[in-house]
């Protein structure tokens, strides 16, 4: 049987639902020797700002039970260098490249999106949920007016799909998803990392120089599944599920919960080949279970 693994994310057709999570896959090139990038549904690159960003002071990452906490501070090469140096090297792959973008104010986001419109970027993912930068990121996560202004601005300058990455560190993620849908978002991705704190008792200091960090990995999977499921009851645009996916089973659970696609994050650090393995795994699962198309599985949770 020839199974259909393609999914449609707001007009962007992906050959399968496996995407990479921003910040865990570099600019894709770091993974060339570990996974055939053509196997992936989409590559979401490290968050890009208008100008290069130096990032936070180290220590930037710490392991926690069944997870990690990071505060990289969105270190990136800036949109110009991304377009001229990184993007051309990904051209040889058939996989669409999605740029995760962020700014320190609403205008900053719009400017990056505008610049990317004239590049080979297939879609943008708006990061309104990074917990590790002082300005931008999380300050917009719960600000409905800012999201509306940002969405309207970006839709005017960027002609391809716009995805909004939502934060779990907000009072009501369903409401925020609704605001995104109402203001023209083509899809939402969730969840970003959960704000956490890791302490060294010997020194009574935080393990991360930024004090707080974003928790990810298997530890957050149940939280992410719950949020994806709740949001799926609220909105009609596609949902991209993210949070502690380590294997094919985890990925399929997100699809059953209501996601149309998934992003693999922390697992890339443990096994840099994992995205290709999950893409194959999903195909085998459909084959083995006589399911014609992955879309038949989306949101099939019963209770």
């Amino acid at each position: 049987m020839r199974v259909n693994t393609t999914v449609n994310i707001g007009g962007l057709v992906l050959k399968n639902p496996v995407m990479t999570a921003s910040g865990t896959f570099g600019y894709g090139l770091e993974f060339e020797e570990y996974v055939n990038l053509n196997k992936l549904g989409a590559i979401v690159v490290k968050g890009i700002a208008l100008n290069p960003v130096k990032g936070n002071k180290p220590q930037r990452l710490v392991e926690t039970p069944a997870g990690i906490m990071n505060a990289i501070g969105l270190q990136n090469v800036g949109v110009e260098a991304f377009i001229s140096e990184k993007l051309p090297l990904l051209k040889k792959y058939s996989t669409p490249v999605i740029a995760n973008i962020y700014g320190t104010d609403v205008d900053g986001y719009i400017k990056v999106a505008q610049r990317l419109n004239d590049s080979a970027t297939a879609a943008v993912e708006i990061n309104i949920s990074c917990p590790n930068v002082k300005k931008g990121g999380l300050q917009f996560a719960s600000d409905k007016d800012a999201i509306a202004t940002m969405m309207n601005g970006i839709k005017k300058v960027f002609t391809r799909p716009v995805i909004v990455k939502l934060s779990p560190n907000t009072g009501n993620i369903e409401e925020m998803a609704q605001v995104c849908e109402d203001n023209g978002a083509d899809a939402v991705s969730l969840i970003n990392t959960l704000v956490g704190l890791s302490i060294n008792l010997k020194t009574r200091r935080p393990n991360i120089a930024n004090v707080f960090g974003g928790l990810s990995g298997p530890a957050i999977k149940p939280v992410a599944l719950a949020m994806v499921h709740k949001v799926s009851k609220k909105i009609k645009i596609p949902i991209i599920g993210i949070g502690g996916i380590m294997n094919t089973t985890d990925a399929l659970e997100f699809i059953v919960a209501g996601a149309s696609a998934v992003q693999i994050g922390t697992a890339n650090f443990v096994d840099p080949s994992i995205t290709g393995i999950i893409a194959d795994g999903i195909k085998s699962y459909l084959d083995d279970n006589g399911i014609n198309s992955i879309t038949e599985l989306t949101g099939t949770l019963e209770y």
């Binding site: 490290k46 180290p58 990452l61 392991e63 039970p65 990690i68």
Partner: protein, 255 residues
């Protein structure tokens, strides 16, 4: 490169110190200061791989010398003969050695388990018949890494309690052997690298390269966690120890 090996031996050699030898499946080429990133657990706790400097690499055998400091290294120390070990690597750059320069004195310094990385370098230099001065320091004799192997390489030891070699720090030995135009290679804890830098920065003609240790996420350049500041105090960029390193020209590192 993804690779795997089988444990040949995994023996205790000192206080919390272990020597692990792997018979590796795929042929590989390793250089001094490179590391491998080892999967120590089959479950998600601990989640991340653990990076280790390579102590030696001969044909299809790879040796690590490590200290048990937490859950990851404890799990590694429990691996038995024949157990499979999954790893990624070798990763990172190497110490820059100019073999055409036969005059400059080469001084190699190892502190703590950083000694593993400099052992590999000293051994390679010995094979190419290039002379060097090797120094290893630790708090006491029981914390000296691979004493027997280092003695074979003519190592000078420094221990804080004087239980082996000079009483004091590696810098006390360094001051005695340092010459103009020397090239220093080191791996060890940051205070040691800093102390050596304070000595070398006063001498224009001395070069100092160190292999840095850092808390790593992925070990393949993707997560940008293991960074150190390279440049000058108010104008630097963060570079990745796993990718642009592990070896940096210490005069360019802000420490």
């Amino acid at each position: 490169m993804k690779n795997s090996g089988k444990v040949v031996f995994n023996k205790k050699t000192g206080e919390g110190l272990y020597h692990l030898r792997l018979a590796v499946k795929k042929r590989f080429k390793a250089k001094p200061a490179q590391f491998i990133n080892v999967k120590v657990s089959d479950t998600v706790v601990p989640l991340l791989r653990r990076p280790f400097s390579i102590f030696s690499a001969e044909k299809k055998e790879l040796d690590l010398v490590y200290k048990v400091i937490g859950e990851g290294t404890r799990l590694l120390s429990e691996k038995k003969k024949g157990d499979a070990v999954d790893f990624i690597g070798p990763q990172g750059n190497t110490y820059p050695v100019d073999l055409k320069d036969k005059k400059s004195k080469l001084i190699i310094i190892g502190g703590g388990t950083g000694a593993a990385s400099v052992h590999f370098l000293a051994n390679e230099l010995k094979k190419s018949k290039r002379k060097f001065t090797l120094i290893q320091g630790a708090r006491n004799k029981r914390l000296i890494v691979a004493e027997k192997e280092f003695k074979k390489l003519g190592c000078l030891f420094a221990t804080e309690d004087g239980s082996l070699g000079t009483r004091g720090y590696v810098t006390d030995v360094l001051k005695k052997v340092l010459e103009p135009n020397a090239v220093i290679y080191a791996c060890g804890p940051e205070p040691m690298i800093k102390a050596v830098k304070r000595i070398t920065e006063k001498m224009d003609d001395v070069k100092f390269y160190a292999s840095f240790e850092a808390y790593m996420g992925c070990g393949i350049g993707a997560c940008i966690s293991c960074v150190i500041p390279v440049g000058v105090a108010d104008n630097f960029v963060y570079k990745r120890v796993c990718k642009e390193g592990t070896v940096f020209d210490v005069s360019e590192v802000v420490i």
